[in-house]
C-alpha cells in the first residue's frame, strides 16, 4: 500500500490558550538568572588556528551547563557566530573547522549531556519522558532554556557581533534550533535538519523508532496518562513555537525518515512566520536528511547572511 503524501498530513497539535504567557513566564525566570559564565582555555583541543574553550554557565533550577566555544586565533573585528545544537544521543559538537573559517562557534550541551549531567541525568532512553505529566516540571523546560542561554552567552562576548548570530543542528539539534530562533528573536539565521520535537504526539503514532518510542513505552505502562502527556507536549511542540520564528530559515528533511517522520515538517513550515523560509525535502533519504550534500547549502546560507 502506498504511503499517503506526507505534505497532506494534518497535525493533532493544538495551541493552549495560555501558551504565550507560559513561555513569557519561563523567559522572565531565565532572564533573572545571571549567567555566571566561565571560560577555560583547553590547550590540548586548541590548534594552530583555533582556540578552544570549555564554557560553563548557570541555567534554570541552578543547573550548571557546559559547552565548547571556539574562536579563530586570527581575529581583529567582531565575529559572526554559529551555534551548533546536538542530537538526542549524539555528543555535543566541538566545532573547530567552522571556527577556522572565521566564525565564533559554540557546541551546546544542554542538561543531561556529558559534562552537563552532574545535577540532572535521566539517561537515554529516559530524557524524553522525565516528568512528562506536568508542563511545569517537564525536563524539557530547563533543556530548552539551556539552549537559549547559549545565545545570551554570545550576547555578552565582546568578540562576537550580536547582530550576526546563526543557529543550526539536526534532529534534536534541529528542534533546539527552532526553539532558539523562536525565543531569541535577535537571531539572524537558522538551519534545522530533520527536526525532532515537532508534531510529537503525531510522530509517536507514525514510528516505532527511538527516541519517540520512549513515549510509546511510557504510555504502554501508564495509558491513563495519555491526556496529560498530550497536554504537556502542546506547550513544548516546535509547531506551536514556530509562529515566533521571524528570521531567514532553512529546513531539510528525508522523505524516508523513520526517526523524525517527514509528515511533521509540513505543519511546522506552515506555522513559521518568516517570509524567508525554505524546505528541502529529499526523496531517497532517511534521518540523515541528505546532510552529506545539504551541508554545503547550509554553509552558503550562513556565509551569505552572517559574513
Amino acid at each position: 500500500m502506498n504511503r499517503p503524501d506526507p505534505s497532506d498530513f494534518r497535525t493533532q497539535v493544538t495551541k493552549p490558550e495560555d501558551f504565550d504567557s507560559f513561555w513569557d513566564s519561563i523567559l522572565k525566570s531565565s532572564d533573572s538568572i545571571p549567567l555566571n559564565a566561565t571560560m577555560t582555555l583547553d590547550p590540548m583541543r586548541s590548534s594552530e588556528d583555533v582556540e578552544v574553550y570549555e564554557v560553563h554557565y548557570d541555567s534554570l533550577d541552578q543547573v550548571r551547563i557546559a559547552g565548547w566555544y571556539c574562536l579563530p586565533r586570527n581575529r581583529t573585528e567582531p565575529l559572526p557566530a554559529r551555534v551548533f545544537y546536538p542530537g538526542y544521543i549524539s555528543e555535543p559538537t566541538l566545532p573547530k573547522s567552522h571556527a577556522a573559517q572565521g566564525y565564533a562557534t559554540f557546541g551546546a550541551a544542554p542538561r543531561g549531556k556529558l559534562r552537563s549531567n552532574a545535577q540532572i541525568n535521566p539517561g537515554y532512553p529516559g530524557l524524553l519522558t522525565e516528568n512528562i505529566n506536568d508542563p511545569q516540571s517537564y525536563v524539557y523546560k530547563g533543556f530548552y532554556v539551556d539552549a537559549i542561554r547559549v545565545i545570551d552567552f554570545l550576547f555578552e562576548r565582546p568578540e562576537v557581533d550580536s547582530d550576526r548570530i546563526g543557529v543550526q543542528g539536526s534532529s534534536q539539534g534541529g528542534a533546539l534550533t527552532l526553539v532558539a530562533a523562536a525565543l531569541r528573536p535577535k537571531i539572524k539565521a537558522a538551519s534545522a535538519g530533520a527536526p525532532y520535537l515537532t508534531g510529537v504526539m503525531d510522530a509517536v503514532q507514525l514510528t516505532r523508532t527511538y527516541p519517540y518510542e520512549e513515549i510509546n513505552d511510557y504510555l504502554r505502562q501508564h495509558p491513563q496518562n495519555l491526556e496529560d502527556v498530550c497536554h504537556t507536549w502542546n506547550y513544548y511542540d516546535c509547531i506551536n513555537l514556530a509562529e515566533r520564528i521571524d528570521c531567514p530559515i532553512i529546513v531539510y528533511i528525508g522523505m524516508q525518515d523513520d526517526v523524525c517522520p517527514p509528515e511533521t515538517a509540513y505543519p511546522l513550515m506552515a506555522q513559521i512566520s518568516s517570509s524567508d523560509k525554505q524546505l528541502y525535502a529529499y526523496d531517497g533519504h532517511g534521518h540523515d536528511a541528505n546532510h552529506h550534500e545539504n551541508d554545503a547549502i547550509v554553509d552558503a546560507f550562513f556565509d551569505r547572511l552572517l559574513k
Binding site: M44, S90, E91, P125, M255, D258, H287
Partner: protein
C-alpha cells in the same frame, strides 16, 4: 600498515585473560521497554579487569531458537535499544562497552578523549579492553539456548570486524570501516572529531608518534581481516574507498558503496541479513517501505 610480529600473541593474551574471568551473566527484563512483539532485557557480564558491562538483549515473542543481530557500538556515550523491526524477528543485542552509559561505573568515558585514552602503550590502550567487552557478549550468545548458533550476525564498525576475527561463531559480518582504518593517515585530512583526537594528542605529545603508530597497528583493520571466516559485506564510504582493506580478507567478500542515506544503506543491510540468515521477508520501518 605493518603488522606487529607479536600481533597474534597480543590478542591471544587478551583472549586468555578474558577466559580466566567468570562472566557471571545476569539477564533482567526491562518491563518498561518490552512490548508485545519482543521482550527487552538488560544483560550484565563481567569482562576484562573484572569490569561489569551492560548490553540490551531483546528476544522476539514466540518459540526460538532465533537468529541473532549483534550490533557493536559506535563512538559516543549513548547506545540505543535495537530497532523495533529487528526486535520483532531476531534476538537483537546492543552492547554498551566500558565507558559508555550503562557501562560507565567506575569508568565514564570522555568524548572527546576516549580514542586516545592510554594510547601511549598497547598494553594500556582502552580499546584493548573494549574489544574484550565485545568478545564477552559473543561468548554469552553462543551459550544461550534461545540463540540459533548457526545464524549469528555482527553489524557495525571496526569493533564488529575485530569480534568476527577473534571469534569464529558469527556466520555473517556487515562491516562499515570506522575509526581505525588508516587512522593516522585519515586524521591528517580532517579537523573533525573523533579523528581530530589523534591530531590533538600529537600536537600535545609530538614525540609519541612512533609509539602511537605502534599501538594503532594492533587495531588496524587490515591486520584483522585475514582471520575472518564469516561471510562479509563491506560497506565503504564510497565505491572503491577501501580497496586495500577489501583485498586483506582471506575469502571473497561482497562490497557496497554507501549512498550516504540512512534509508538506502539501511535497506541494503536489512535485505542482506534476511538473505544470509534465511529469515524470509525483510522487516523495515514503515517509512522505508
Amino acid at each position: 600498515m605493518n603488522k606487529p610480529q607479536d600481533f597474534d600473541q597480543y590478542w591471544k593474551k587478551v583472549e586468555d585473560e578474558l577466559a580466566s574471568i567468570q562472566p557471571a551473566a545476569e539477564r533482567t527484563e526491562l518491563h518498561l521497554r518490552s512490548a508485545p512483539e519482543a521482550k527487552v532485557y538488560g544483560l550484565k557480564l563481567t569482562s576484562l579487569d573484572h569490569y561489569r558491562i551492560f548490553a540490551y538483549f531483546c528476544v522476539p515473542s514466540g518459540k526460538g531458537p532465533f537468529p541473532v543481530i549483534y550490533r557493536l557500538p559506535n563512538y559516543g556515550s549513548v547506545v540505543h535499544i535495537p530497532p523495533f523491526e529487528e526486535r520483532c524477528k531476531y534476538i537483537s543485542v546492543a552492547l554498551c562497552h566500558r565507558g559508555q552509559r550503562l557501562s560507565d561505573q567506575p569508568f565514564a568515558a570522555k568524548y572527546p578523549g576516549l580514542l586516545t585514552s592510554g594510547i601511549d602503550s598497547q598494553r594500556n590502550y582502552i580499546y584493548r579492553s573494549i574489544v574484550a567487552d565485545c568478545l564477552r557478549v559473543m561468548d554469552y550468545l553462543v551459550s544461550c539456548d534461545d540463540v540459533d548458533s548457526q545464524k549469528i550476525s555482527l553489524v557495525g564498525g571496526d569493533l564488529a570486524l575485530f569480534t568476527a576475527a577473534l571469534r569464529d561463531s558469527a556466520s555473517v559480518l556487515f562491516y562499515t570501516p570506522s575509526l581505525f582504518y588508516k587512522a593516522l593517515h585519515k586524521a591528517t585530512a580532517t579537523q573533525n572529531y573523533p579523528l581530530e583526537e589523534f591530531n590533538d594528542y600529537l600536537r600535545s605529545f609530538p614525540e609519541s608518534i612512533d609509539q602511537i603508530s605502534q599501538t594503532l597497528a594492533y587495531f588496524e583493520p587490515m591486520n584483522f581481516a585475514s582471520r575472518v571466516k564469516s561471510e562479509v559485506m563491506l560497506m565503504e564510504e564510497s565505491e572503491g574507498d577501501a580497496n586495500d582493506l577489501a583485498v586483506s580478507f582471506a575469502r571473497d567478500i561482497e562490497r557496497s558503496g554507501s549512498k550516504h542515506s540512512s534509508y538506502q544503506d539501511g535497506v541494503v543491510l536489512a535485505e542482506w541479513l534476511s538473505k544470509k540468515l534465511q529469515t524470509g521477508e525483510t522487516l523495515v520501518p514503515m517509512h522505508w517501505r
